[in-house]
């Protein structure tokens, strides 16, 4: 179990403390429909993409498209960082990209529906590099009638 940085092995905590986090003015949390009526997209920052799609590169703030019906066997990960576990993803993609779990929540009626397209960034991006891509993506999400995004780190 990983708790606060102060409780982690120092070598891991040191690495995480060195990551510079951007700061923002608070963004108001938007109101919306009940969850059971929302159309939800998954957005990962695990550097995921379909095999054959462009791998991520250092400083890359762009995203890759993962259609909802993408078979698990087509998913690969090209995150540049080596400081997180990949064996979980190798065993079960849902532990990092819970697309089957989202589908089940829709079947259970907890979530209204799922988007036709899902997305992955590569989390080591400098915020300035990702912002224009994220703004563009927001427009595409609206076109897909998406009214909520679940953001899944790695």
């Amino acid at each position: 179990m990983v708790r606060r940085l102060s409780e982690m092995p120092e070598v891991e905590a040191h690495h995480l403390r060195r990551i510079e986090c951007p700061t923002f003015d608070d963004t108001p949390a938007l109101p919306g429909k009940p969850l059971s009526q929302r159309r939800v997209a998954l957005i990962s920052t695990a550097g995921l993409h379909r095999r054959g799609d462009r791998p991520f590169r250092p400083g890359d703030g762009s995203y890759r498209v993962i259609p909802a019906e993408t078979p698990a066997r087509d998913l690969v990960m090209s995150h540049i960082s080596v400081n997180f576990d990949r064996t979980g993803f190798q065993q079960d993609h849902n532990v990092a990209f819970p697309i089957d779990r989202l589908r089940e929540l829709v079947e259970e009626g907890v979530v209204g529906s799922m988007a036709s397209m899902h997305y992955s960034f590569m989390g080591a991006f400098p915020p300035d590099a990702a912002e224009p891509h994220a703004q563009h993506l927001a427009g595409l999400l609206k076109q897909d009638a998406v009214d909520a995004a679940l953001l899944v780190p790695v």
Partner: protein, 229 residues
């Protein structure tokens, strides 16, 4: 991760994030976050445990209905250390030997990797577009002084890393993922090759190769091995 919450929510898309590092999330203050205490790389907690994963995803999604952000909710379930019922010692002898080669080691693992693919129906190898003998040859050439571009080398190395760990997961007594990662560094020629390559990359005149050598080749948790190598 949290930065995307700001960017998307400001454009009208409500967001809820999973947070793996609470201190980072406390600084970035995205609109809604669920802090989990799971290992980095496993934001949904436990592989092959759909019920557990679904509870985590549901708890994240339920935050969407809250408008009192920025908020961080603490997820109440935790994951213990992976249970280890094995007396795991590498079941096939991959210990570096003077006469062995990286190419032979890669070849020897092919049947185990095939087993892994047969069992899971998938592989995460395939970022570089190289087959594993070719990826190994590229790494061997880099060790001999013929350095490719940093991106090409990184993709080949990451594919090899996935290949080794997936192959080891199919051993008769695969042990825990922690043990398999230790095996990669302790007992394989591939791990040794990465440790041998690191100082050459770090000393390169190419800034991209230096970044690879200093940051994205050897995990922070394994860098203590460099002094020994």
């Amino acid at each position: 991760m949290g930065a995307l919450g700001h960017f998307l929510e400001r454009q009208g898309i409500p967001t809820a994030s999973i947070s793996l590092v609470r201190e980072h999330t406390e600084t970035i203050r995205p609109p809604r976050a669920l802090w989990v205490t799971f290992e980095l790389g496993r934001p949904l907690g436990i592989p092959d445990d759909p019920d557990f994963q679904r509870r985590v995803l549901r708890a994240t999604a339920e935050l969407l209905e809250r408008t009192d952000g920025p908020l961080i909710a603490d997820y109440p379930e935790h994951v213990g250390e992976e249970a280890d019922f094995t007396g795991w010692a590498c079941p096939i002898n991959l210990a570096p030997q003077a006469t062995d080669t990286l190419a032979a080691e890669i070849d020897r693992l092919a049947t185990w990797h095939d087993q892994s693919v047969a069992r899971t129906g998938r592989t995460t190898v395939g970022v570089s577009g190289l087959d594993m003998p070719a990826a190994g040859a590229l790494l061997a050439a880099a060790l001999a002084g013929d350095l490719p571009s940093a991106q090409t080398l990184k993709e080949a190395v990451d594919d090899l890393r996935a290949y080794y760990l997936e192959a080891a997961s199919a051993f008769p007594d695969p042990g825990t993922s922690k043990k398999r990662k230790a095996w990669l560094w302790d007992e394989t020629l591939f791990g040794k090759a990465l440790l041998d390559l690191q100082p050459r990359l770090a000393a390169s005149e190419d800034p991209q190769l230096r970044i690879l050598g200093n940051l994205t080749l050897i995990p922070a948790t394994e860098r203590h091995r460099l002094a020994k190598a």
